[in-house]
Symmetry: C2
Subunit: 500 residues, 2 copies
Amino acid sequence: MQDKYTRFQKLMEDIHDLGKAAGVLSWDRSAYMPSGGAAARARQSATLARVIHEIETSDEMGELLENLDEWKHSLDPDSDEFGLIRLAQREYTRARATPSDLVSRMSETNGLATMAWQKARAENDFAAFLPHLEKVFALAREYASCFPHVAHPYDALLDRVEQGLTKAEVERIFNEVKGPQSDLLHRIMDSGVDLDDSLLHQKFPREAQLAASLEAAKMLGYDLKRGRLDTVAHPFATSFSVNDVRITTRVYEDFLAPCLFGTLHETGHALYELGVPQRLEGLPTARGASAGVHESQSRLFENLIGRSAAFSHALLPILQKYFPAQLGHVTPDAFFRAVNKVQPSFIRVEADEVSYNLHIIIRFEIEVALLEGRLAVKDLPDAWRAKFQEYLGITPPNDREGVLQDVHWSWGLIGHFQSYALGNIIASQWWSMMAKDLPQDELMRAGNITPIREWLGAHVHQFGRKYTPKDLIQKATGGPIDTGPYLGYLEGKFGEVYGV
Amino acid sequence: MQDKYTRFQKLMEDIHDLGKAAGVLSWDRSAYMPSGGAAARARQSATLARVIHEIETSDEMGELLENLDEWKHSLDPDSDEFGLIRLAQREYTRARATPSDLVSRMSETNGLATMAWQKARAENDFAAFLPHLEKVFALAREYASCFPHVAHPYDALLDRVEQGLTKAEVERIFNEVKGPQSDLLHRIMDSGVDLDDSLLHQKFPREAQLAASLEAAKMLGYDLKRGRLDTVAHPFATSFSVNDVRITTRVYEDFLAPCLFGTLHETGHALYELGVPQRLEGLPTARGASAGVHESQSRLFENLIGRSAAFSHALLPILQKYFPAQLGHVTPDAFFRAVNKVQPSFIRVEADEVSYNLHIIIRFEIEVALLEGRLAVKDLPDAWRAKFQEYLGITPPNDREGVLQDVHWSWGLIGHFQSYALGNIIASQWWSMMAKDLPQDELMRAGNITPIREWLGAHVHQFGRKYTPKDLIQKATGGPIDTGPYLGYLEGKFGEVYGV
């Protein structure tokens, strides 16, 4: 059986290596590729994806997994081998259930939809995007129908990024936070307090923003021997190895927050991938457990650390070094308040912590209604405006700042947005557990993040993708996803900031 | 048969796409990868190489090529289809003749040798590199022995980069240029003329060098919609698509020539790849014909244009814009003379045009002697010093500036250096043919390079890799590689500059 495992592991290493090669192609496309390279790059990426899919669904893989299944049950469920076989079985089952012609149609449709979306967004023209979006949702339904055992089509899509989680569970979680977050937002809006964030809206030269953000990332533990920072239109983090995890950001010269907090956010993602143990290097288990768990790391570093009162004492001096004229006179408390201004707004990626999840819940409810056929794609802009009015008390003036704002649907990412909200919630679970072991405020105030990173390493990072997200959270916290710590955090922090 | 050709073409497209993906990985390694990524990147590249090799040598490919062979003979030998089948047959035959365990041993040996070389070069320690170099040459001999039909082991290695050319032909060519180049060099050294190149040795800030070099590249026809310029330790050009061909350079802030002429050199390579017709995009024929023909393009743009008296009138104003203090007072004639200073030196990449080929001939003669067993690897430093004294009249003071200077042998590139000299020679063949059609001096003086690029497009670029280098040169010039134009060029240009 060891022979079979060795061969199986070799195939998994190949899948990993080819996937990482695809990652480099994708990073280059976003960061450096000249425009002329687009068509060829799309084809190269598609070829790599096909070769990977061929290995994943090969008869050899099927036979190996069948042979290894019984052996797996003799293994320690915490072993790397068990985790790798589990992951491969899941990927094999999913991939074999999906006809390859559906995969190509989805890939082609997404490519065209993304181009159409870019144009439609720039021109605020939902009608031009509509036929593409209708195809995307039709294909999402067709994809979901490949998994007839699920209780709801959303489950089949959700399972791609949060294995084992269901629409019913997401609904339960969202129902728990929706009321309290709305209530808090209303109390803040009614408080009459209007925080001054003008210090963030000054002239901040590009190169200095990048240097300051990188220095802040280094304080969080990011290391340029194992990473680098580049600028792109839509920031992301990407891992090519447990020793080469790159982050990206974007710069607005008249607004400091996107570059700075964007960098801290991607640093959180990167530290997760960099914290996967070296012995998993080269295997598909050498990455984060799920999109939601990944977001729990990025949001923890961006918000629980980056936007905390305590860390302002460590972060502000870095910024003052690069921007003495703009920020030299600012106090840590003023900085803390400025970066925590709450204001319902149209754009998800610019949302404050109190209203952020409401942006997600709107998308979740819309996706479910679309998948159930209760809503037609053509009626999306109306539904979007109605939901915004209901949850945030504002109505987007146009589709560009409304339903056209995010690229995700063009990419075929239906059943994906929930992970951003789950990340916020899970981050607070880690944070409240960590509070039993570490004096977090004291550490953050001193800019000493190493113990926090090590704690996350021991409870989250070290397991890579060995467990399902559910199992990982159960193992680390002793229970399922729990909204209590998150709601307590929001109420505590923003209750104090706004005196409500 | 059309079905079989379609399937064959699909496999060739896959080989092309995966090869380009490997190219992106390699470019990133040189230009941007953090040091931590090295080990994983080596593995990813090896995995891609193996997947490509598996397709190239697959039974399916063998059967398709057998089926297509007869059909090929019914095709126009100038057709794209004929060229693609010819190329695939050649690659298939070579790849099948090479045992895969030899390929892995070479790959592993080269990886270790490259690391050892970096250290040995830095520490001027040939003894530490010796065991690696012995393995590299032993494997080169073993590789050559896989092709028992060749007349000389060098032929088997040479055929990898110059299909169809033999050691005997290279020898014939080198024997024709060796005497005249040595003689010209001696006359120059004895002339007592010492050109002043101090204008190149001033302080030139990095960013301005890059901007000026890029502007010069644009004047040659390089277009940032289809390319970009980055800095690396060892410059190169690389193609990811006929619409995405990138160049690299390096900067010394106290010496203008390496960045500027390095950029013009790589621009020559890039314009070749960018000149391949769009209809070949995505196929292995969409690239240059051979290493030597490629070098004929880079050296043409670097030297025949870049270092010409006429082009100095167009190039110098660009430089003066970026370096008014350093070069504002310089005349085109003074610039032309400075960049054509002849001085025997130890380092190949810094050699002037008159002595450059002698550097290559030294390496060629040493490689042949090593392959024949007339020279032992351990005696290389002595042989190197003796040859330098014989051909250039100087003896390297140490191995770092002698036998350890180039990375090529560590990479397993035996039978490769000759292409640099062949490139010089072939460049002059194109140039003298072109002289019948175009007023080159007038065009260069005006900075109007488009007609020159279009001429090269029509006679060289448009054919991609459809023909063997021999066939391409025969087709374009009506004969084989001819040293006459090159020797005439050197004698004319340097005879005038030095009055000898």
